[in-house]
Amino acid sequence: MPSPAVPTAWQAATVVAITDETSRAKTFRLRLERPVAHLAGQHYVVRLTAPDGYTASRSYSVASAPDASGEVDLTVERLAGGEVSGFLHDVAEVGDELEVRGPLGGWFVWDGSTPAVLVGGGSGVVPLMAMLRLARASGRPDLVRLVVSVRSPDDLLYAAELAGPEVTVVYTRRSPAGAPRPPGRLAAADLPARPAPGATAYVCGSAGFADAATDLLIASGWPATSIRVERFGPTASA
């Protein structure tokens, strides 16, 4: 098991593919100059440098499962006024070289060997996708249960790849035609009824989503200590 705590230096990464996931999210496949094994759930920092030396850095979760390709997928949602996400969406092209540092983070990680419930809101599904892909690639999809909450079908990342008995998609504003569940916020009934013994819950999304999801898990019997949370984005009130 690689140690997630090992520091990594900045290195060059070449953009080898750019894929549209939704109207606001793209996946950038990067070939690393010096490949480092990552754990499902970890992230990279991407650093951009202007000609005058000004730099901007942001963290992006790895969406791909750990493998021997020497490449990683980073899915980037475009944020309003986002200095780095805007550049990546509007300017970056295949063949460009970026600077990256990683893989980073030793807490929000899953090693693929224990039961895990994954609860993602919006683009919070990205690090959970690495976990789902790892479970499927290693022949253990039974270990994971992924619940993704999105506003509408247009906001669902990896839509073509998600379908499976271990995945539930919750639509909060608009459901696809014929969906049995009416649109509505994530509820207890959308989550596994009880935690499996030794299971860990991974919750990723906005602060509001993460709080709502952890409240639901705790109410259905999950010990707070078995829940790992990754929040992003601003608070509702500044």
């Binding site: 997630p4 963290s59 550049f87 070289e97 600077e99 807490w107 602060a207 705790i218 200590t225 949370v229």
Partner: protein
């Protein structure tokens, strides 16, 4: 050595950069919430703050008791390791000096583990909590500190990256050695000086 990124010019730098540590950006009015745990339901009646370990007088304050201590404020920026900085913050609470002086640090104490009511921990050199550099705070911009930002009270060490400013803080343990806390065991730096970009272990 950073390489220039093709096509990247960055946002306007007019007026920016003043007081901004390397690699940070000004988040403006947003105050992002970053926490690794479930947000606790922690009332002021259950909240306490303890100074223990290498001190002459281990001391615990209740909410009422700590609020009765002489007040102290901090006005200025905070810096998060995830690269945002927020300027013009106004925090009110009590200076950590007041709490340490009451407990009487022993001569051999060099480091501190700050611990939270959630089990979160973070380590700091004792010197970083001394001489007016650290607070236990319960008020921001004139309002009670919101739960998601660590209320009822959090540690405030604004000259270090903000994960050192433990939310829902429960106390300080003084030690004669450094002992990594939660994020520090998970790859983050033991000191976390934003001006030296001490983000990760080894920086």
């Amino acid at each position: 050595m950073a390489r220039i990124t093709r096509g990247f010019t960055g946002h306007s730098r007019s007026g920016a950069g003043v007081g901004l540590p390397p690699g940070q950006y000004d988040t403006g009015t947003d105050w992002p919430v970053l926490t690794a745990e479930a947000t606790p339901k922690l009332g002021t009646d259950a909240w306490t703050f303890t100074v223990e370990g290498m001190v002459d007088r281990p001391t615990t304050w209740t909410w009422t008791e700590i609020r009765a201590l002489p007040g102290s404020t901090y006005e200025g920026p905070i810096h998060c390791v995830t690269t945002w900085s927020k300027f013009g913050m106004r925090f009110a609470g009590v200076s950590v000096d007041t709490l340490l002086d009451a407990a009487g640090p022993q001569g051999g104490a060099t480091h501190v583990v700050a611990f939270a009511h959630t089990g979160y921990t973070t380590n700091l050199p004792l010197a970083d909590l001394r001489d007016g550099k650290a607070w236990v705070t319960w008020e921001v911009d004139g309002q009670p500190l919101p739960t998601e930002h660590g209320g009822p009270a959090r540690l405030l060490v604004p000259h270090l990256y903000f994960w050192k400013s433990a939310k829902w803080v429960a106390g300080l343990t003084l030690l004669d050695h450094d002992e990594p806390g939660f994020w520090e065991r998970n790859g983050y730096h033991d000191r976390g000086d934003p001006w030296l970009e001490q983000r990760y272990q080894g920086d």
